[in-house]
Amino acid sequence: MKIKDGIRAGFIALGILIYLDLIGLPKTFGSSMVVTFAVIVFLFSLFSLRTKPAEAPAPLPSVLVNGLIIGVITGLGFALITFGFASLQAQDVKVTDVFAQISHENIEALTGVDKVALREGQSVVPGLTKLAGYFILAGVLGGVITQFPASKVLHIGDEEKRSSARYWLMLALPFLLFAFFLALRIEGVDIGGSEENSFGLVLIYACIAAALFAVREVKAGVHKIGFSALIVALVLVIPQLTDLKQNAILGAVMIFVIMGIGLNIVVGFAGLLDLGYVAFFAVGAYTYALISSPESYIVVNLPWFEGLNFWAGLPIAVLLGAAAGIMLGIPVLRMRGDYLAIVTLGFGEIIRLLLLNLRDYTGGPGGILEIPSPNLFGLDLGNPKGILYLGMAFAVIVTFFTIRLRDSSLGRAWVALREDEDVAEAMGINLVAIKLMAFASGAAFAALGGTLYAARQVNIFPDNFALDVSINVLSLIIIGGIGSIEGVVLGSIALIGLPEILRSVDEYRIVAFGALLVIMMILRPEGFLPSTRRARELHEADLDSPAEFEG
């Protein structure tokens, strides 16, 4: 255990805390957020300082020093930033113009000093000292815990005996809490998204803890069904806890998750760089719009056709999306690398220009309006919460399909294709078929996202389908880790959350992406949550280089 590791973990934890601060968690959850932040620091310290089951724990002084470093970095760093914000607000600077979520409520939640007191000159230092103290304590505590043999449970090891009961308990926890929470709701107790919502936080803790635990178990190759059940539980719980605006943002995140997973098949698995991915998103959205909106060309001109509902329109839009994927795929079959990227880029623009110029059919720049929202057994899903539920459900389905595809022989063939086309062909892989499969499935997922997008927006315009969508989707899979499905989810949350943080500089988002991508490529080229294979590829240089002339 080196000091360097502690410093690194400290800064990563600080980054996460700042991100959570900027997206407005303290405002939503009130003063209990300080404790939450401390718990995050504690977990970080514990996870970064723990030792493998077979190893002896690092000596106490070493983990104490590292825990202290983590605590001090996060505590001082976070306190300084909050102090800065508070000072600005004390002088009536409108911080919310730049950081939309850093309001008085945020400062009050973190320091206990409210708007009026702040203006009157009450110091935030005592509050922040307490906060920093908590963080330092949490960091040190995390280090100390590593000294107990029980902390080794955090590791996956073949030799470790896993207790099923413990596992199922962890899994059942969120379900139980969810039931309890529902019961409270029914009783009329307001617990969602309000100030001082410590209960909601406890619930989130439990879910996250159970999720972490379950991921660990699944990585060790056990309890797949339980893991699926857990995801379903998370999907059910989260939208109940968040407020309208957060639901709307999360809904957008889900649309990007669906698209990211689709593009990940094309770029990550098969290695075909597609820069015009937005085309399929547009095909899905416009197909659904054309066959559903009472204002659309088709519905207006066919007297007997009243327009389809969401569930009838969805499969048609997805199928047409897949067909568009194949249509693009056929002419580019023989292209590789840069040429492929340029042609797909053009394809994306062609679709947008068609939408813009086929005025009679697509409404031109006026778009298509009054697209019907989805309904489920009479339940209107046309609100942010409904769209979020739907988006999560689709994301889970798409993820399931993608995992199955990845682990099938088709998935292996894609990897071989990415590696070496000629050798892959010599292995008996039908390159034409698998390339078209990659394009078609990627495009189908984009069309699914597009349909959901159209239903969410109600009105769509060609401008919604510009190049920046392709770039965003590509960025999020690069940041998450190309080829990794978890990475797509993380990347979406990070990138779609960013504009929310940088609301006032929304137009410069692309610049922020650019900077982020450059930094990522330098520091962590494989992304945040890379697939094991990808990580291996990019760190080949770290392994012993192949020795050509020895046995």
Partner: protein, 237 residues
């Protein structure tokens, strides 16, 4: 009847006439070698047989079945596997993943498993390194992997392109021992080599190719004694 019968094939790279009517045949159970200088058309011949290049003219028969009528990727299903030049392992995949990809054309799981075990038996080194990334193997190990991967397709005939290229002299001998061993287990082999001396020692028959044409065709022993071959390819004056 010959197992593999190549008749008068002409292959082009764009306008370059690379093979000018190459004919050769390989009988069941033989090791046949194709020797020649750089650029003579050895690799082109193999790539044409395995379907990666299409001949403009000529026919290729495997057990009486015309191979040129199949799409490229289906050639391997007919019983032809290739160990490509420069080994061509999927360097970012693990050894085991490479081997599994070799059996891509097959679906009989039990057989594939048995075949994997056979490959591991032949190359214990690969089993030791099953989870290692192929790119980190040494040249000799990569050659083993490429060979093992080709064997996973359970081919009737194995095409080997320069298996000794870039290997230390001490390893070359091992490569040729392997070739003989594979042949003894019943796989017919067409071997392309620059190391004519070694190739002619293990082969039953040989062809000499020069600027896209077969110029000599004899038993390996006769070729070894042929003064022209000796001076041009064996370095004996």
């Amino acid at each position: 009847m010959a197992m593999l019968e190549v008749k008068n094939i002409h292959t082009y790279y764009g306008n370059i006439h690379a093979l000018k009517g190459v004919s050769l045949h390989v009988d069941q159970g033989e090791i046949v070698t194709l020797i020649g200088a750089n650029g003579a058309g050895k690799t082109t011949t193999l790539r044409t047989i395995s379907g990666l290049l299409k001949p403009r003219q000529g026919t290729i028969f495997l057990n009486g079945d015309d191979l040129t009528k199949y799409p490229d990727h289906e050639i391997v299903y007919q019983g032809i596997a290739m160990v490509p030049e420069g080994r061509g392992v999927f360097s970012r995949l693990t050894v085991l993943e490479n081997i599994e990809l070799g059996a891509y054309s097959r679906s009989d799981r039990g057989e594939i498993e048995a075949n994997t075990q056979r490959v591991f038996q032949m190359f214990p080194r690969l089993e030791e390194r099953a989870k290692q990334v192929a790119g980190t193997l040494s040249g000799g190990e990569q050659q083993m992997l490429a060979t093992g991967r080709a064997l996973m397709a359970n081919p009737k005939i194995l095409l080997m392109d320069e298996p000794s290229m870039g290997l230390a002299p001490i390893l070359v001998e091992g490569v040729f021992d392997t070739i003989v061993e594979i042949n003894k287990e019943g796989t017919t082999i067409l071997l392309v080599e620059q190391n004519a001396l070694m190739a002619l020692q293990v082969a039953d028959r040989g062809y000499v190719i020069q600027t896209g044409e077969i110029v000599l065709n004899d038993t390996a022993e006769n070729l070894r004694r042929n003064p022209e071959v000796q001076s041009a390819y064996l370095g004996i004056n």
